[in-house]
Subunit: 450 residues, 2 copies
């Protein structure tokens, strides 16, 4: 660890102090007296400038900033200054909840090509309330509750985005649920229906079935008649994923999933969804029956620890699946690649998918499952939870400051403890303020993937 | 040309003579007095044995046999002896019409791996009347009109096939139409819907749009709302394919089809159907828009002349398209391979497709287009017509002997002429007995592909 890698908790503690000073700002309408429109430099080195609140009228907002590629501590909480002003076609959203995605974990390690170089704010999705509307925006107004899909930059208290990247939240949908929807459900929908072309009576393999896309895909599978879902996850999650619709849960850590699938379905599968990459793409391809489709949409296998793992990368690249036209023809197979981050110009396509998802949501056929919620101060722990595959469902980040109440001393003690045991995930449990369920997961061996 | 390559016309003339002796056999019920069940050797060298009809009760039937790999003359008309007896699950069909496919042309040159080594009877489809039913066949009876899909062996007057390879012809469908349906429409349906996943408002590129699969695909495109069809064909066929539903006909011989497509649809296409292989597969892949699908289902580019062209094969192989998982992901594309010949174990899948096709046929949404019909004696000319891309629609072979009427002398003169000008396709015109249309095609330069 280089000296540059300041521990996340130190940074966090510092941020928390500065944040308590700005946390009481109004939540919907911006202050008209704010004049400054320049943002404070995002680099963490200069963030301490925010320690001295210059004048009362300065508009500030909390923002998570990736300061460099590396471990969990590279994402730092900063306070930005300057009231965002929407340009033509843009809206400003007061963010209530943000989604954490695998791409964010890859981005932190410098492995996600759709995230610009640090310093940069990560985050591809959030939900919130529209606070200002730019010119030429006709279908959004101040006060609209929306969820947002964007290439990056959503982990902030206030975001400015193109209006066509926002989607109206339906009545009755909560902000956390709304923030859990875009990336996972758009991905699951497009890989299953647009690429996989799922039909009645077919069989699907869902890797990481307890993850965000996994749960979304399982729910979407059951919008089609008589679909059989094979889902991999660690054994402790089997009950939950079975209840969620996985027909055959497979513990990939104690069993060879290829053999397990063949035992039940000797001819193979109609669709394999592959978020893993490397040798698992080969395995998936071989598991297809004639007319089967492999949809590869990630390379989770490259993510093995906090920091970039060159060996895992090399292995994944070396084992990268490649196929030629004749092989595909002779086996009657399809190989599809999906990457939501590269569809950011396809507003219309995405809007159509979101419309279908909201329709299914209204019918009660899909429902995002929130694993746990974490304040911005806890982003490191939130990332750890996902990276170590302890989540069942979506990990959500909340921009609102963590309440510092009477237990403050207790928490400070915990912070100290954390300093000592930073790499030990057992601490995580005590750090979770709002985790909803899955407590039983905590004491599991560390799974490599779900 | 080796001495082995006996000119097709000589062989044909000989066959015709012997055929006149057996052409009056009954068309539906087999003669009970037939005892011999052994087939005459299929090799052409021994076929002359059939010249001397042994006894009146011997059951014989006309069969086209590929005697070796090479030019048009390698497919010879023979008479086989012995009454076929259906085994369990089989039926015997009195064939009325057979379909000619690209795979048969490749097979003749030794380029189709699903056709066994010569001597062998080619032909993947036919229509006719069930003449005998084996044990355990419950859903077919003598007298049923059926069309048949089989890996090979359909170019015979009588065929014995598994009952589940036969499909009942609907009321009002003629034998020629029925023989034109299986290969082209099953292929077009599966590549467009099961692999291409065609949706409303999408765009499709159909190569060889005047060919059997091309016409089927164009008709099927229009069963979905607002689909735009780009179709390549030589200019003289544009009127016909436009009437058939091609929105933008492109003359691939005088224009770069990639440029032509880009002019009309700058973002590219949703689906490219690729029967060509080699560099055209690359072009097709590059023409896809995000979420687009390339379906490769042939390698027509290897077929450039009567005999195997090593250079064309090498070029097609050298340019064979290959793609890796990361490229597919980053471009959000799909690459699918289709080969009906390798789906011969998938009865259920095929039956479902046929059921959907018959439903569309009943609704008047699809209708096979027969380009021309040829008697078995004319198989060489029929193959030439297809190989030189002069057909618009399906080329059909008829097992029934060519009627030898008063014009016999005239025909003999033509045969002589053919001897002189065997490689000249201008002769073809005079050889066509029942060609339905497309006369204007005859004097075209030889197209390489449509």
């Amino acid at each position: 660890m280089s000296g540059e890698d300041a521990p996340a908790q130190e940074q966090k503690a510092e941020d928390q102090k500065q944040e308590t000073k700005t946390s009481e700002q109004p939540k919907t309408e911006s202050k008209p007296e704010s004049k400054s429109t320049t943002e404070a430099p995002a680099a963490s080195a200069t963030a301490t400038a925010a320690d001295k609140p210059p004048e009362e009228e300065v508009f500030t907002y909390r923002s998570l900033v990736l300061s460099g590629h590396g471990g969990y501590d590279k994402v730092k909480l900063q306070v930005k200054k300057g009231k965002p002003a929407p340009k033509n076609g843009e809206v400003v959203v007061r963010v209530k909840a943000c989604g954490l995605n695998f791409a964010d974990l890859l981005g932190r390690q410098g492995l996600y090509d759709r995230l610009p170089s640090p310093p940069v704010t990560p985050g591809m999705e959030c939900s919130g309330v529209i606070e200002a509307v730019g010119e030429e925006v006709t279908d959004r107004k101040v006060g609209d509750k929306v969820f947002v899909l964007n290439r990056f930059g959503m982990w902030q208290e206030v975001v400015t985005v193109a209006a066509n990247h926002t989607f109206l939240m339906p009545e009755g949908m909560g902000f956390e649920e709304a923030a859990a929807l875009p990336v996972n459900y758009i991905t699951a929908y497009m890989i299953l229906f647009d690429m996989g072309n799922l039909r009645p009576n077919q069989s699907v393999l869902v890797h990481m079935a307890a993850g965000g896309v996994g749960i979304a895909a399982t729910q979407l599978c059951h919008t089609v008649k008589d679909v059989t879902v094979f889902g991999t996850a660690s054994a402790s999650k089997h009950e939950t994923i079975s209840e969620g619709g996985v027909t055959h849960p497979i513990d990939y850590r104690t069993r060879d999933y290829v053999e397990e699938v063949r035992k039940i379905s000797p001819k193979g599968l109609d669709i394999v969804l592959d978020p893993l990459g490397g040798s698992d793409t080969h395995k998936g391809y071989n598991l297809l029956k004639p007319m089967g489709k492999l949809v590869t949409y990630g390379a989770a296998n490259v993510l093995t620890g906090q920091r970039k793992n060159l060996l895992a990368m090399a292995k994944t690249w070396y084992n990268q699946f490649s196929v030629n036209a004749f092989s595909l023809m002779h086996s009657n197979k399809s190989m599809c690649g999906y990457h939501l981050g590269h569809l950011d110009g396809e507003f219309e396509l995405i809007s159509q998918v979101v419309a279908k998802l909201l329709d299914l949501h209204a019918q009660g056929k899909i429902k995002p499952k929130v694993d746990s919620t974490w304040h911005f101060e806890q982003v490191g722990d939130a990332m750890r939870r996902m990276q170590e595959r302890n989540n069942i469902g979506k990990v959500i980040l909340l921009p609102e400051p963590k309440k510092e109440e009477p237990k403050k001393e207790e928490e400070e003690k915990k912070e100290e403890k954390n300093e000592e045991n930073k790499e030990e995930k057992k601490e995580e449990k005590k750090e979770e303020p709002k985790k909803e369920e899955a407590k039983k997961e905590e004491k599991q061996e560390e799974p490599k993937k779900e």
